[in-house]
Symmetry: C2
Subunit: 421 residues, 2 copies
């Protein structure tokens, strides 16, 4: 029996009763003979409440101080879980991110893990303790200040710890049963995916699936950590995220799942002169704002005008900043106008199986056409096809793709109100 890292999100530890329930599960895992290390988030809405408190005191809190404040949340739940485990008769020890040896960059609010030096965890675990690590936090390498790790942090911390500790696997506990073939709230016949590859999970996460964050999956892939995503409210198996299975491509389901994303907007720069370098200038201007561009489409320039339109998608929240950056360029580049459309949605089908099965694109587009959904933009990778459609067509498109690729189950999925956090 080896080491297991378990991560519990905020909804799994929302109150004293939930903490005691999690404690029972942790103790049961230890009793099976594993060495257990737990990464824990703050209780329920604690982080949001602390943020509110900060904004009451200052409209623009300094990032270093915000990290000092927010990290109180995970500290509290880690200590409480350790107490609950002790109450069940086992030794548990809580550690802050700093004490656990999680070394990060200095970017407060969005630090990255540079290294993990788990000496203190290993000593405690070898002495028979269950170790509880406060998630979402680390210590900056240079300043020794406490940092928070940005989005998807506790999941990433858990996977990173699993790698550093050579754990057998990493369990991510959440309030849904695992990764589904589509969002069960849109597709009642969606099924739990028993096993999915890192590459597919990366695409699903990048295309809007909200259970595991992109950073976490990338870390798992890089370090080859098997991740088991499951519900903290039941004992059912969830979804295993692992290396792609080799040699079974022929029996592989063609598509593993359908993801959707309502968080993007589309910008079209109309009438860009078709000269070398103009497209580059446009994207340099947007890049300077540090906005992440997702899909890009540039049409062949019209023969008569020598101009072309360039469209790209980006997070809605960055729309205003991008528009401003482009408007500033209008004179110099000489394009006609900037159009902004935030009434779009992105729908993607993901599957390693499409490498070895031709016709996936055709089948996808036929299903969309049959459902009366118009395609505005297309983007593909080796294992993913994404389309941008009108916002009001997203649900219909997801349902159509799910059925077309034989993903529907016979029974209805149990629909949770869970956020998957």
């Amino acid at each position: 029996m080896g080491r297991v890292v378990q991560k519990y999100g905020g909804s799994s530890v929302a109150d004293a009763e939930s903490i005691k329930r999690v404690a029972k599960r942790v103790v049961a895992t230890k009793q099976q003979g594993h060495d257990v290390v737990v990464v824990i988030s703050a209780m329920g809405d604690t982080t949001d409440e602390l943020m509110d408190l900060a904004l009451q005191v200052s409209p623009l809190p300094p990032p270093r101080e915000l990290d000092m404040l927010l990290t109180a949340g995970e500290r509290m739940s880690a200590a409480l879980l350790a107490m609950a485990i002790a109450d069940l008769g086992m030794h548990a020890r809580s550690l802050t991110g700093s004490q656990a040896g999680i070394i990060t960059t200095g970017t407060h609010g969005n630090a990255r893990i540079i290294d993990i030096t788990p000496g203190r965890i290993v000593s405690a675990v070898d002495a028979g303790d269950i170790v509880i690590v406060a998630g979402f936090q680390g210590v900056a390498q240079d300043t020794k200040d406490i940092t928070t790790l940005g989005r998807g942090a506790s999941d990433t911390t858990a996977v990173a710890l699993a790698a550093a500790l050579n754990a057998d696997h990493c369990e991510i506990y959440t309030d849904v049963d695992g990764i589904f073939t589509a969002d069960p709230r849109i597709v009642p016949s969606a099924r739990r995916i028993p096993k999915i590859s890192y590459e597919e999970m990366l695409e699903m996460a990048a295309c809007g699936a909200k259970i595991l964050h992109l950073r976490c999956v990338e870390y798992a892939r890089r370090e080859n950590v098997a991740v088991h995503v499951r519900s903290s409210f039941s004992d059912k198996d969830g979804t295993w995220v692992t290396e792609a299975e080799k040699g079974s491509a022929m029996e592989q389901a063609i598509i593993s799942g359908v993801a959707h994303d309502r968080g993007e907007a589309k910008i079209t720069v109309v009438g860009v002169p078709d000269r070398v370098g103009e497209a580059a200038r446009i994207f340099e201007a947007v890049a300077a704002t540090e906005i992440n561009i997702d899909m890009i489409v540039q049409n062949v320039s019209a023969v008569d005008t020598g101009r072309t339109d360039i469209s790209f998608t980006l997070p809605k929240t960055d729309g205003t900043a991008a528009k401003a950056a482009l408007e500033a360029l209008r004179e110099t580049v000489g394009f006609e106008q900037v159009l902004y459309d935030d009434q779009i949605g992105k729908v993607s089908v993901v599957g390693v199986g499409m490498r070895s099965h031709p016709g996936v694109t055709a089948k996808f587009f036929a299903a969309l056409a049959d459902a009366g959904v118009n395609i505005e933009m297309i983007s593909t990778s080796e294992i993913r096809i994404s389309v941008v459609v009108d916002q009001d067509d997203v649900d219909r498109a997801v349902v159509a793709a799910h059925t077309a690729f034989d993903l529907d189950s016979d029974s209805e999925a149990i629909v949770y109100a869970g956020t998957g956090r």
Copy 2:
């Protein structure tokens, strides 16, 4: 202009508005040219609320984990105060007890400061920052675990920091105007004491005065740190606690103040055989329970019986444990019975002036007699006289002593509901 350490208690930072008010005061001090280091308690009732949360999860939380949990409180208020100060345009940096270099013993829940290595504070202060230190906490020398410092901790931390930083003085902010000649809720004519010596303050604290904790005053005396106890709700001067002034004994007020304590009980061991060693055995038994005994009175043994009664006072909360320890000795020592009386109170007059003025005891006892108060036990030091009286006579005794020693002011003191914390 040198360094100043300011300490703000929980009631001074009970909510966002209070924090902003404290920030203004801190900034004003800095603008006067001082280097400012602040020690801050948790907001309002946070510590009690965290304790409640712990008890919901486990009836007997492990001390190490309790410290990990409780220290979240001061961390939060330190970060929020730093944010509020930044909002006023100044640089502020919060530090945990550990980051501030407060090294302690390993006794969780009641750790003692062993040393302070303020390197990080000094760097920040020299760089022009206002430094906010989370009170009530430090780091254990051996285990590097976070510890909380027991009663009177934040005051003691502030004084200890003032000593380590060679500060000009230490300001303790509370919700009353300073140390009064008696509790204003009992004696409306009580006056604020402008200046009191360490020795007198030690006696006042030991005898029930609740504004400054004994440990804090002892530290200040040992390190010769001038302490200014004042209200965070006004700009008035408070009470300075400093070295006794030499050479002015003749003009010295005879009595500085009257303290009272309702927290003690009296135990009388009746009919102790008057043999060598019996009294010792009785007190060894009590000492083994680690109970702090306050006053002891042993009467001369009766000639005819060869037995004597021994009475002592102790905290009410320790009454049961002490009685049990003594009952267990009844056979071996051979005393008749153990009486327990928790309906007592202690009233003390304190003043360095009594060293050079005879007749203080007589005046005190005459005042009590005139007020119809019976004296049950007497205990004295060079600068203090304490009497044990019936619980219902405490207020009358305090008022009588206050008047007898000319401490009454002409106007009524403004009575706060403050707890002096």
